[in-house]
Assembly symmetry: C2
Homo-oligomer: 407 residues x 2
């Protein structure tokens, strides 16, 4: 229950603080500047920096002239000193990345996600992909901290199990984390895809005390959350399901499965609508996710070229998404909405500004604070990158909770 | 941005850890037991305990025999060593409490909430009530840490302003916190009512790593949140608004203002429904909140005595509340729902179990984790008590974030 803190914990924490600071100052920082920024005394800074220098995570770079004093030695990150592998298991494709400390992708690979007839075979194939992407990246395997694997929920994070994601055929109670650790010989951490996207955003662009919702559009819809600069995982690691948020019934199309966001704004649903309304000709087999994805692209293309029915379908999706986001903003008082996920990139240009206008103009917004609404700067592979960030963060992030002694 | 930690911060933190531990062990704890529970070394425990003993917050109590060793001295809380005042400004009544360290109410008072024609007068009257409730409690004013004041949102916590609560007539941009600090000569902290209810729950029954939603039924509806044992206030302190969550349109009564929870399950709305459906005879003046409250009591009484129309109205409210809670559970993966607030006590016996059954039986629940659903153990004055807890927590709570140096 209550846990205290002590000096070894403090030492490690301060190292992490220094590393974090250096990581976010690509031009380097002097020890004096670090003392000013952290409130730590110079001796503490020097001790922490020495350990990081010894470990090769940072190096002395140029010097900075500051007033009349003697030029100050700058410390900077050694981006290629450590790496992490990220794997994103999506119903359609599986993405592998090798990430360096700076968050740059060193190697990248995509494969079709297999349905699981034989879990052992799947795990063996994944381990092989991991080994070969590390090899391809020409990175010293000893410098790879480990593997992050992320999957759609529900997940069982305590036991490292992919429980039963609606669209991942055969993936039922697969103990992916531990099996992958055995198969790769590396430490493996697991998370839910949408929450890994939040981790990516925090790691890459800075955590601070940020409060945001990450609207994640993949095969399904997730709404990941950061509160006070930390990802919200909830009691079982399954936070972030935004698909059951209900939207107002006005403007609902006649044929619909329910009033839930997850049935009204996914690529599959939008394609169904387009077929119903004659915008697309043939309905793709809903089990052929690649075909659904192609049809979704075709729908967006039609809207882009001005087809009024296609435009209307996407505009309606924007209304549903905006309505759900207003509820989320009121509940959590977030001041940023970040959009991303594999299917979002194609939609963004068509509906992001519309969503933003609908949200900020909503008479239902409670606190009237301005809400920034932007696309993720991390890109389409945000979940895979988040999986790798998860590993880096576990090892290197200065979170106050790491100050507590584990009894 | 990044902040480090140092020894003075660690010392204060460990004292807070020890105090928290003792507070939750009413039978006392020995220093050895504390070392076991916290992972701190005996010397650190002794130092922290000495400071708390010197300050009179704890005392040496009995001894506990443990095996063959010499009996161990127990340390226990001195509940009446420090106090805090809590004030809850509700549209209907204003509640004042004086709370001791153990969370016991030492003095209690209710007054009608005035509409604000002259803010200065209102603040002067509040300060007078605070002075007189402290006097009545026979508590040494020097032992009162300060005042917590909570109000319906929207609030501006940074500036300590009650912005413009829908039902508080004339309360528009009143700088209540600072005015009250001047008028009382005491430190004043402010919060939104529903979030203070969360603080009360955490302080009184233990924070741990709890994730819960607090369904707060007052004049309006709030859904306060605790994530990882900490209250969620959001970017501007206005988190906790659950009134704009949309509920499914099926089962909606014909006459309704919208599909939002805040228009479907408040006392005012339920009374309107009851009048519409002939359960209650005369509609109370909606501006006379006391009359609305009486009519609400009459409706619940009718349901209790078996009036089928009254039962149906409340059952429908249960359905709306359950639907909204399912969305919240899916979004945040909380495993506890706590119910409370001034209007909840009357409804609980009629609908809590029904809500619980609807939530746990919902086909839309994402993670299938069991969710505990209970009434708050803090009682009807949960927001006023929370206001006082806010003061105690600010002074005494061991939160890792307090370890960070403020630069």
């Amino acid at each position: 229950m209550s846990r205290g803190t002590n000096l070894p914990a403090v030492g490690g924490f301060n190292q992490a603080v220094i590393l974090d600071l250096i990581r976010h100052h690509p031009d380097g920082l002097s020890r004096v500047e670090m003392a000013e920024l952290t409130g730590l005394v110079p001796q503490t800074i020097s001790n922490a920096a020495k350990k990081l220098l010894d470990d090769g995570l940072i190096r002395e770079g140029g010097k900075r002239i500051h007033g009349r004093g003697k030029p100050r030695m700058l410390l900077e990150l050694v981006p290629r000193s450590r790496f992490a592998v990220g794997v994103h298991l999506d119903p359609t494709v599986t993405t592998y990345v090798v990430l360096d400390l700076q968050g740059e992708i060193v190697a990248h690979r995509r494969t079709r996600t297999p349905s699981v007839a034989d879990p052992e075979k799947v795990v063996a194939a994944m381990a092989e992909s991991i080994a070969s992407i590390i090899e391809e990246s020409e990175v010293d395997p000893a410098r790879v901290y480990g593997v992050g694997i992320v999957a759609p929920g529900p997940v069982d994070l305590e036991r490292g199990i992919v429980v039963d994601p609606p669209l991942l055929e055969g993936w039922r109670n697969v103990p992916l984390r531990d099996a992958l650790a055995v198969a790769t010989g590396m430490p493996v951490v697991m998370d839910k895809d949408v929450n890994a996207a939040v981790v990516a955003e925090l790691w890459m662009t800075g955590a601070g005390e940020r409060n945001f919702a990450f609207f994640y559009l993949g095969t399904g819809i997730g709404i990941g959350l950061a509160i006070g600069g930390d990802v919200v995982r909830g009691s079982t690691g399954n936070a972030g399901d935004g698909g059951t948020l209900v939207v107002p019934a006005q403007n609902l199309p006649r044929r619909r499965r329910s009033e839930m966001l997850g049935h009204l704004a996914t690529p599959q649903y939008l394609v169904d609508q387009a077929v119903d309304e004659g915008v697309l000709e043939a309905a793709p087999d809903p089990h052929d996710l690649a075909a659904v994805d192609d049809a979704f692209s075709a729908l967006v293309d039609k809207a882009t070229s001005g087809d009024p029915d296609a435009v209307r379908i996407l505009d309606r999706a924007a209304e549903f998404i905006a309505a759900a986001l207003v509820s989320v903003i009121n509940l959590l008082d977030v001041d940023e909405i970040i959009f991303g996920g594999p299917a979002w990139g194609r939609l963004s240009e068509r509906i992001r500004l519309k969503i933003a206008a609908l949200v900020s103009g909503s008479p239902n917004l409670f606190a009237h604070q301005p809400v920034r609404m932007t696309d993720t700067s991390v890109g389409e592979d945000v979940a895979a990158i988040g999986a790798a960030c998860l590993v880096l963060e576990t090892r290197l992030s200065p979170r106050p909770s790491t100050l507590l002694i584990t009894t």
